[in-house]
C-alpha cells in the first residue's frame, strides 16, 4: 500500500469544516455528525489509492460520508425516508415576515425535509456543487437532483410560509416569458 502523501493529508484536514457542515445537515445532530466525519476520514485514508489526483477531493469525500450515513441508517434499521411518503400535516412554523426569517425557524424547517431533499438542496444551494457533481455524490441522475432541489425549495417555502419568491419558483419561467421585467 502506497503511503498517504502529505498533500492528501493536508487536503483532508482542509475539508473537515465542509464535511462537518454536510454531516450536521444530514444527521441534524452534532455528535452523530462528528462520528460520521471521523468514520469518513478513516475510510478516505484507507482507500486513498482509489482517489484520482486532479479530481474533486471534496466531492469524493462527500460521497464517502453520504454512503456511510445511509449505511448507518440501514444498520439502525431505520427506513430511509421517502420524500413522497412524508406527511405535510406536521409542518407548522409560525409565519415569518418576509425578509425577517429567523435562522432558528429555517433550521427547524430544514429538519422537516426528507433526507434526499435536504441533501440535494444543501449540496446545490450551500456546498457549492454543480448538479452534475451532486448527482455523482448521490448516485442518481442529474434530473433527480433537480427535482429534489425544486421540491425541497417548494417545501421550505410552504413550511416557512414564504410567498412572492417567484424569481425561482416553478412559475419563474412563465413569469419571465409573460412578465414585465423580461430584460
Amino acid at each position: 500500500m502506497a503511503a498517504v502523501s502529505q498533500s492528501f493529508k493536508t487536503e483532508l484536514l482542509g475539508a473537515i469544516p465542509s464535511l462537518r457542515a454536510f454531516a450536521v445537515s444530514l444527521t441534524q445532530n452534532a455528535d452523530r455528525a462528528d462520528d460520521l466525519v471521523q468514520e469518513t476520514l478513516v475510510k478516505a485514508w484507507d482507500k486513498h489509492e482509489s482517489f484520482q489526483p486532479g479530481t474533486n477531493l471534496k466531492a469524493w469525500l462527500f460521497t464517502i460520508l453520504r454512503n456511510e450515513f445511509y449505511s448507518q441508517m440501514r444498520k439502525r434499521g431505520r427506513e430511509v425516508q421517502d420524500s413522497d411518503g412524508i406527511m405535510t400535516a406536521r409542518l407548522a412554523v409560525h409565519p415569518a415576515q418576509h425578509g425577517q426569517l429567523d435562522l432558528k425557524d429555517f433550521r427547524g424547517a430544514l429538519e422537516q425535509l426528507p433526507e434526499d431533499q435536504r441533501e440535494a438542496i444543501i449540496l446545490i444551494g450551500a456546498s457549492g456543487f454543480s448538479y452534475e457533481e451532486a448527482a455523482e455524490i448521490c448516485g442518481c441522475a442529474v434530473g433527480t437532483i433537480k427535482s429534489r432541489v425544486s421540491r425541497a425549495r417548494a417545501r421550505l417555502q410552504e413550511i416557512l410560509k414564504i410567498s412572492g419568491e417567484d424569481e425561482f419558483g416553478p412559475d419563474a419561467i412563465s413569469a419571465q416569458v409573460t412578465g414585465s421585467n423580461a430584460a
Binding site: 500500500m1 466525519v37 446545490i124 425561482f168
Partner: protein, 67 residues
C-alpha cells in the same frame, strides 16, 4: 410546442443571467438563509480529535504495510 421552446429560451436566459451559480436565485430568502445556515456550520471550530485522528492514522501506516 411553441410554449416549450419559449420555455427553453427563458430557461437558458435565466441560466445565463445567474451564471448558473445560484440555482436557488441569489436574492431569494431561502438561498440566503441556506447559505447562512451552512456557513455557520462550516465556521464552527474543528475539534482537536480530527487532527489527532489523522496523526494516528499517519503513525499507524508503516505497520499496516501490505504485500
Amino acid at each position: 410546442m411553441k410554449e416549450m421552446s419559449k420555455k427553453q429560451m427563458a430557461d437558458a436566459a435565466s441560466r445565463h443571467r445567474n451564471g448558473d451559480g445560484n440555482p436557488l436565485g441569489a436574492n431569494s430568502e431561502i438561498a440566503r438563509k441556506l447559505k447562512q445556515y451552512y456557513d455557520e456550520l462550516v465556521s464552527d471550530q474543528v475539534p482537536d480529535r480530527f487532527a489527532q485522528l489523522l496523526s494516528q492514522l499517519e503513525q499507524a501506516e508503516p505497520a499496516q504495510k501490505k504485500d
